[in-house]
Assembly symmetry: C2
Homo-oligomer: 213 residues x 2
């Protein structure tokens, strides 16, 4: 095993460093965050720093880069209070990635990359019709992280749309079946395979497997 | 597609709801967080809410559950300021899961589940010898999320240990090759397969593939 210390990492060329550090924390749930501005123009952007905050209340967050680097999603959420998150699948991973390009003001990434906005359940922000797992959130907390000027955007879950066949008998959503993707670093997209589920761990008991069914 | 609203989710039995909501945000990087207390007893706990915060400065965070539910990791990090994060692989996914059991005070999960603590680079917290990707962090920011009493623990990267064969020519760590796992919900563990890498997206250019090499 090679030992790499922080001085060496800091000495690297910045894209090399970004690729390395971004992958180090592991695979990430890659999703499309969809918002609208006050004028009704929709925005769609690929995010991979999505994090489960809690199940009750149901809170899901994501890390938004510094305001200057990624302005529209954050501004739209602040203006309207609403956003949707839509899983990415192999059939449109290239389009999801393409949303990271800088499009001129007033251009919707939906149109630019060829994905379909769909409005449902009276929710103000559109969902991505092509996505197999879609959910809607209302802004709950916006936490500024001063060390690097990023934001933790926490949303309160409002609606979910998915195929009920993905849901196991105990509530687990089998995202292997949905073919929801993970991302790695800033530009890699990967698929998954189930390995095992394990029963609730107890100190006095051996680890036992349970089913995905 | 089925529409499920938050009122329905709130009406569910709590384990069913936890399984569902925890999976909804997508697959997660699953890792073992290792710490020591002031008396030198090591603690090892599986965490899957790990989040990339930034590459320069290199900051990686994780969500820690409310203090009462998961006391040792947070207390040790507050007491010493240091922790390591160690990727989980199929060879010891069962042992990683078993660290979530409640062991008596003074029992190290390393010994209880059969994983090997290893001290390196003068770092105060041990690494998990069985892990193929290990990294060490110093506490940088501890953010309390008041909506559900959780904490975002942000660490500043200090050391990395890995096989240099995992690192692509442009810095990406190919975690498919390392067989680093992802988790799903509270008890499922999955493996990954590479799908595609895409070049930096530009508005005027079609999406183009790049190599994992």
């Amino acid at each position: 095993m090679k030992h790499i210390d922080i001085e060496e990492i800091q000495s690297w060329e910045r894209f090399y460093r970004a690729n390395f550090v971004n992958a180090l924390s592991g695979f990430k749930a890659v999703s499309l965050v969809s918002t609208v501005n006050k004028e009704g123009t929709s925005n769609l952007a690929v995010f991979s720093n999505i994090v489960h905050i809690g199940a009750d209340p149901a809170l899901i967050g994501f890390i938004n880069r510094p305001r200057a680097a990624s302005p529209h999603t954050l501004a739209n959420i602040e203006a309207t209070g609403f956003f949707t998150i839509n899983h990415v699948h192999p059939t449109f991973a290239d389009k999801a990635h393409q949303t990271s390009a800088k499009y001129p003001e007033g251009v919707s990434e939906f149109e630019a990359v060829g994905l379909t906005p769909t409005f449902k359940a009276g929710f103000p922000a559109p969902f991505v019709a092509e996505s197999m797992v879609q959910y809607a959130l209302e802004l709950s907390e916006l936490v500024f992280l001063e060390k690097n000027n990023t934001y933790l955007v926490v949303g309160s879950l409002q609606h979910v749309f998915l195929d009920p066949d993905f849901v196991c008998s105990d509530g687990l959503i089998d995202l292997n079946k949905a073919e929801s993707m993970v991302s790695l670093g800033v530009d890699a997209y990967c698929t998954t395979l189930p390995h095992a589920r394990f029963a609730y761990a107890k100190a006095a008991k051996p680890t036992t497997r349970i089913d995905f069914a």
